[in-house]
């Protein structure tokens, strides 16, 4: 375990450096000249393009540009939005809580439902609940999230008129910003009616985003629990005549929890990547819509920063998952 840990930790800076190189080079892969685009397109005068190039530092050699990019990153400077002229770090700070709220809601919904479905399937193998769980997880993994979002909007918002969609709160309502998580902020503001509205706005995007976690969690739970139920210690427990409920929950489920940790590492990219499309459909003011707006307005600094942030989060999360897996499982801990 120590060796594995040391290796992972040693490779971390290499990977992170590679990630910054990719986000840095992404700008230089863009066809055409970013300086020209930013100076106003083909109509820009050569002087204006040149001035923009100097302003952006694009006239310096690439390695120098890269080093100064790294230097700025180390100081926590993510650059300035070319569109709004504001610091990208503070704009991300405003957007991040909305994405976090959506992802958390999808996890809070997906993990219990998925676990229950998987446990039901594992304890009733090859019977109706098992087949049902398999079909649900297959369908959950096959429906494109943005289509699912459209269907849910059509059904619940338009046909039935039961749920609102678009944004986090009804139009023209605001809540004093404390945590940035709208549901929490409405609670802190002491306005239960508004909390209810915030929750109602959260339902459709969260359910859409929860489909993949439900599908993956139920698959993992079923596989892990089925394996445990077939193991010698469970057979022994059964031989002692313990009730099935005790066998399943006290003997099998405990060990089957382990793969769920790895699962979190798999779910994170699904939530981060899938959320972009869902945020766009629901006009959710998170990082996804921010990224897409930046792409459309050619705001390179923002695209660079958001991509970097998501990649770094992703790398750190998978490292944590690997490490915690090692710490939780004595078999992995002892080995190597």
């Amino acid at each position: 375990m120590r060796r594995l840990l040391r290796r992972r930790l040693l490779l971390l800076p290499v990977t992170l450096l590679g990630v910054t190189l990719v986000t840095f080079l992404a700008i230089h892969l863009i066809p055409g000249d970013p300086a020209e685009v930013l100076a106003g397109g083909p109509l820009a005068t050569p002087e204006a393009v040149e001035a923009m190039r100097t302003r952006l530092g694009l006239d310096r050699p690439l390695p120098v540009q890269y080093l100064s990019y790294l230097g700025r990153l180390l100081r926590g400077d993510l650059g300035v939005s070319l569109f709004t002229g504001r610091s990208v770090a503070s704009e991300i700070g405003e957007r991040f809580p909305a994405s976090l709220e959506l992802a958390a809601a999808a996890l809070l919904l997906g993990l219990p439902v998925g676990t229950a479905l998987g446990a039901l399937a594992a304890t009733r193998r090859d019977r109706l609940p098992d087949h049902l769980a398999r079909v649900i997880s297959l369908v959950g993994l096959s429906l494109p999230s943005f289509w699912l979002a459209l269907l849910l909007v059509w059904l619940f918002a338009v046909k039935l008129g039961r749920l609102p969609f678009g944004g986090q709160l009804p139009p023209f309502t605001e809540v004093p910003r404390r945590t940035g998580l709208v549901v929490v902020d409405t609670l802190l503001a002491g306005d239960p009616g508004l909390t209810l509205e915030a929750l109602r706005h959260l339902v459709l995007p969260a359910v859409t985003l929860a489909f993949v976690p439900i599908a993956l969690t139920s698959r993992y739970t079923r596989a892990a629990l089925a394996e445990e139920l077939a193991s010698p210690h469970v057979r022994t427990a059964r031989a002692f005549g313990l009730p099935e409920r005790v066998v399943v929950w006290r003997y099998a489920a405990r060990n089957a929890m382990l793969p769920l940790v790895t699962l979190l590492g798999i779910l994170l990219p699904a939530l981060l990547g899938g959320a972009v499309l869902i945020e766009v459909v629901f006009s959710w003011p998170g990082l996804g819509t921010y990224l897409l707006l930046a792409i459309q307005s050619r705001d390179y600094a923002v695209v660079q920063a958001v991509t970097l942030l998501l990649a770094v989060l992703y790398v750190l999360a998978s490292l944590l998952v690997d490490l915690s897996y090692g710490l939780l499982d004595p078999r992995v801990r002892e080995r190597g």
Binding site: V14, L29, R134, S142, F146, W147, L151, L277, I295
Partner: protein
């Protein structure tokens, strides 16, 4: 050797038949593929011919799925669009498969600094959530068929490389490879005749799973306006257009989504089926 192969194929077919769900998956996928290949040949209506007099026409014999907001026949658009989406997705998997597995195969075979370099690049590519990486590449390169193929194939590269490397590392230690070295065969011949054919199984499983993800990403990029561009129909692009008149013409939203979902479902089930056949991942 021939006998052994036949028996193995025999059991493989048997296993595929035994698992009804996998079999259904193969049927669904072939159904979608045949429909988008043959469909446009039978239903010879121009998918981009605008007919403003017939905007949002209800489904009829003339337009079985109705028309869109510009009076274009929806059935033709979905048949052609399905063709485009599937073609771009499969093409990007082929690109990722060839370059990714190629790098992985060499990496495991020659090892040394080349191996280290390939694996570090793979680590970096794996550091990005796949859809995000595709999105950023598509944004940087601009829309269009070729760029979409590039954007969707790059996130898939490292998975093929890692898988093939593991296969290659394991196979190079086998006796028949050592024997091939011993009788003095050239490294290229050993690589292509002895290592590669024995490493193919798990890669086909990965290819099928990757194809499902690719369909999702191609349609997703089209939906965000960063993929294949109009007037060329593409399922994701049709969806983003039709969501604005969802109420007047629900088939314009339902049909493309159903085709996308069935393709992804088919690829996922095929992946499961191939996994059973090649006995991949059953141990874990």
């Amino acid at each position: 050797m021939t006998v052994a192969t036949t028996t193995r194929r025999g059991t493989a077919w048997h296993r595929l038949r035994r698992n009804r769900l996998s079999f259904a998956g193969v049927l669904v996928l072939s159904g979608v593929v045949i429909t988008v290949i043959v469909g446009p040949l039978l239903w010879r209506v121009d998918p981009i011919a605008i007919d403003l007099a017939n905007r949002l026409a209800a489904p009829s014999a003339l337009h079985p799925l109705g028309t869109d907001i510009q009076g274009r026949d929806l059935l033709a658009r979905i048949l052609h669009g399905g063709r485009v989406t599937l073609f771009v997705a499969v093409a990007s998997v082929v690109v990722a498969l060839v370059f990714g597995s190629g790098a992985g195969l060499l990496s495991g075979f020659v090892r040394g600094w080349f191996d280290t370099a390939v694996m570090r690049v793979a680590d970096v590519l794996l550091a990005f959530p796949p859809l995000l990486l595709a999105l950023v590449i598509a944004a940087a390169r601009g829309p269009g068929v070729a760029n979409t193929i590039l954007a969707v194939s790059i996130p898939a590269l490292p998975r093929f490389a890692r898988l093939m490397r593991a296969q290659s590392l394991a196979i190079r230690e086998r006796e028949y490879v050592l024997a091939a070295w011993a009788v003095g065969l050239s490294p290229l011949r050993i690589l292509f005749r002895h290592v590669l054919p024995n490493a193919v199984g798990p890669v086909t499983v990965q290819a099928s799973i990757a194809a499902g993800i690719a369909v999702l990403e191609v349609a997703g990029l089209g939906f965000l306006g960063l993929g294949v561009q109009p007037p060329s129909p593409e399922l994701g692009a049709i969806l983003v257009d039709s969501q604005t008149y969802l109420l007047q013409q629900p088939t314009a939203v339902l049909a493309p989504g159903i085709v996308i979902s069935l393709s992804i479902l088919g690829f996922n089930l095929l992946g499961d089926a191939l996994g059973d056949v090649f006995d991949v991942g059953s141990g874990s």
